[in-house]
Amino acid sequence: MKYGVNEHGYYGDFGGAYIPEMLYPNVEELRQQYTQILNDPGFKAEFEQLLRDYVGRPSPLYPAKRYSEKYGANIFFKREDLNHTGSHKINNAVGQILLARRLGKKRIIAETGAGQHGVATATVCALMGIECVVYMGEVDMERQAPNVSRMKMLGAKVVPATSGSKTLKDATNEAMRDWINNPVDTHYIIGSVVGPYPYPEMVAQFQSIISLETKKQLLEHTGNELPQYVMACVGGGSNAMGMFYHFLDNESVKLIAVEAAGQGVESGHSAATTFLGREGVLHGSRTILMQTDDGQVVEPYSISAGLDYPGIGPQHAHLYKVQRAKYVNITDDEALQAGLLCSQLEGIIPAIETAHALAYLEKMTFKMDDNVVICISGRGDKDLNTYIKYFNF
């Protein structure tokens, strides 16, 4: 694959495994085994069976009639919000729990921002009867309280991350520290296409089911498996990478990744990584991250906990640098308005993360016969309080 990873774990200038020696054996074990395990017919069969019977795949590709009328193009929603647990995160969680079991791990740890990945991980741990510890920023625990309760009900232990900005990056730090302290029996299920190699590649492969299905479904709907545009929101970038994956080598397909501008890219309260960031090292990979001139990581801001991350996955950094995908951004206000519009035009309340991708439609100019696929990465149940507060319902 032209935009794929090389033998050292790099996508162009980005990636690698910048980890302390304490994590080397864990990461090396994964690196040596993941390709073989993922290609094992027994693993594939079990993964596909669970995605079908437990997650509810394939997720529909829904021709959004009223959106299509409004924006003057054929707009399709890839309905990851209809997955079990309500977002795309379950695809990766199922894949990694099966991997962890084959590696003989007895304990699972995870980080979570919006709580979607935490819920997905707690779910698959319940399914497999494996102990689960989820790290979540204290601030996120407050704004995504329903998901905290869901994780607890599923039997997971939720540990607040109280350092730094008390959001996703700090939860990731805490999970990494836990892994350093428990190197033998624990598998760390990273929820996005971030972290040291092989995580970005592994998570992208588990999420690539999204674009694999989309191609088939698009062929049925339109007679052509290739659309003109593919759009998704980006925090760390797992739904976007899953949505882009099988279109990467189809250069005619324009890929649009929507970051969170927060209160505006110039406001000092933003999470628009490619706009505000520079190259550096974050959470084990060389990528683009928001940082000071001295190389200290900047605390990002977005109303959406799932996009509130100062970096992007290394493959995204590469796609950005070589301009294979276009990286844009949307403010809190624009996203919330788009969430309302989608609710009232299509009867779908999207996650605020997803609403960022929807909001960018306002800034596009389409031709009438353009086919546009947007990844509806998650549903908005977890965000109801934020929507209610904003719109005064």
Partner: protein, 256 residues
């Protein structure tokens, strides 16, 4: 031959190294602390430069890093404070910190500046071997800086041999696979690991770090290695008032 090599040649055992975070508890004390530690009989030092996301560190070093950053510590400030280092301090000095601040400062510029102020080596815990060999080693070597690699109980023999090949001063032996600041619980497993590494007869001396907090843990470490490093325990000590005056007492407690 840099100061580190000379030290390991002239003093054979019970080497004591101390780690502290520059800028904690306040700015402009780095050389004062270093000087006091040398006078108290410490053999070499690790001066940490703070990072916002220190994943290999426990609460003590995290806290000192946050405080140091809030005080305004960064690499420019640190090199400014170290300008006259070699007029006052003669023992070997290592800089220790995460790789992103080095990347932003510029690797070549960082190595030049470190050598210029009289630093002898670098410990960057999240700098991988592959990247060190392909991108960084040249600048370290050109500037006479040693790169210190970490070894944990989980590091394979093959990898320890490779680390030994790439090292030219000492190897940092972690007492356990953990973040910094945990108490060392000596177990037969840890002693077996120390013995295993000792039996490998590496060309570089080994120094044990992580979990060294008192005379008991220091003495035990010195049975298996050339010396040991005290980090979090000293950082915690720096919260005391008049810490500079009390440094000899602290060192005496470790040495016994």
């Amino acid at each position: 031959m840099n100061r580190l090599n000379k030290l390991f040649e002239s003093k054979k055992d019970n080497l004591l190294s101390i780690y502290f975070t520059a800028g904690y508890p306040e700015l402009n004390t780095t050389v004062d602390i270093a000087e006091a530690l040398e006078k108290a009989g410490v053999d070499f030092l690790e001066i940490g430069f703070p990072y916002s996301d220190p994943v290999a560190d426990g609460p003590t070093v995290q806290h000192s890093s946050e405080k140091a950053l809030a005080n305004g510590m960064n690499l420019n400030q640190l090199f400014e404070e170290l300008k006259d280092l070699r007029k006052r301090v003669s023992i070997p000095i290592l800089l220790m910190g995460y790789v992103n601040p080095i990347v932003q400062y510029g690797i070549e510029r960082f190595c030049k500046k470190a050598a210029e102020v009289g630093v002898d080596g670098i410990i960057a815990p999240d700098l991988p071997m592959y990247e060190y060999e392909t991108l960084y080693a040249k600048h370290f070597i050109d500037n006479g800086l040693s790169n210190i690699f970490l070894v944990t109980p989980q590091t394979s023999e093959e990898r320890i041999r490779k680390i030994d090949d790439l090292s030219n001063s000492f190897i940092y032996l972690l007492s356990s696979s953990s973040i910094t600041g945990k108490n060392l619980q000596l177990s037969t497993a840890i002693e077996d690991y120390y013995k295993r590494v000792k039996a490998m007869q590496l060309k570089n001396p080994a120094i044990i770090g992580f979990g060294i907090t008192n005379n008991e843990t220091f003495s035990k470490a010195c049975e298996y290695a050339r010396g040991a490093i005290v980090g979090s325990a000293f950082v915690r000590f720096l919260a005391n008032e008049n810490y500079l005056e009390k440094i000899p007492e602290f060192v005496k407690r470790i040495r016994g």
